[in-house]
Symmetry: C2
Subunit: 175 residues, 2 copies
């Protein structure tokens, strides 16, 4: 059975996996849910090649997870925003995060890289299984997020490395 | 940034994705949570090649998601069971399923391929955002599952196709 056949299964888990079942799609959704929406910034923080990122964003647009908007005309530059369908994948990201916290999969142990405060109750969503029960699907809009300083530093390192690489490329081209 | 570097992020989402962030791992976990534990049955229902499946199961064992047990000596045959760490990925599967139901990603629309009844409350978990709040992470152990007849038929088709292919192979070898 090829992957295409998997997506033709009647099982919602299989079909959902066909849409989002790889690391990149959910990593892109994490960035967009955090407010990172521009192509170059997405490239920076996911570490994807521009070719792969462009292909994936196109696919995600076709699947109804994202919409694309120009934010500059010359040269043309785009930003991406999640649709409601895309936003509701936040529940999957939250389940992954809670699992990762409980099993301490990152070097931060049980300290969240992204701490979340429920806007409605003011409570911290830092446990392993707490999911706000608002009567509608969870999205990052329901929470205030704050990044752990180590995660902020990690992201800055990525930004710096990206710009340094770009500069080296530009310098080489000029020679 | 390569995938290996992603898994070195401090972000629990990124690290969790490094462990489970592809279609196959979660599809295997779905099968195991449904009680399908033998190598050949896993191969049948995921459609993975035996080589790929063996590699993936080994990796999942190393990551502490599964344990392997022999169930026959000659020829040696193995079955797999989820650890508690692996079981708790059921919350991710449930989030994916609920998202898939809400957005009707399968041909069954908003009818679940796997309907779930909460053992504690007797309630049906067929909504889009209901996750049993038992005070501990959700696992499939908390629910009784029932497969939709279309999903049962789909699985039988896979089983039949697998055996037919094996028989053709055996016949060719004999000639």
């Amino acid at each position: 059975m090829s992957w295409e056949e998997t997506s033709e299964s009647v099982c919602q888990i299989a079909c959902a996996l066909a849409l989002v079942g790889d690391r990149w799609t959910l990593l892109i959704m994490r960035e967009i849910s955090m407010g990172v929406k521009r192509f170059e910034d997405l490239q920076m923080q996911t570490g994807m090649s521009s070719h792969l990122l462009a292909l994936r964003l196109k696919r995600m647009e076709e699947d109804g997870l994202l919409v694309r908007r120009p934010y500059r005309e010359r040269p043309p530059r785009f930003e991406y925003d999640s649709t409601r369908k895309g936003q509701e994948l936040d529940a999957v990201l939250l389940a992954l995060r809670n699992w990762g916290l409980h099993w301490e999969v990152s070097s931060l142990g049980d300290t969240p890289s992204i701490s979340m405060t429920d806007k409605a109750s003011g409570g911290n969503i830092d446990g392993n299984w707490q999911i706000p029960q608002s009567g509608r699907p969870f999205t990052f809009n329901d929470v205030e997020i704050a990044l752990h300083p180590t995660f902020v530093a990690e992201r800055q390192t990525r930004t710096d490395a990206f710009h340094a690489k770009k500069l080296r490329k530009a310098t080489r081209t000029k020679r």
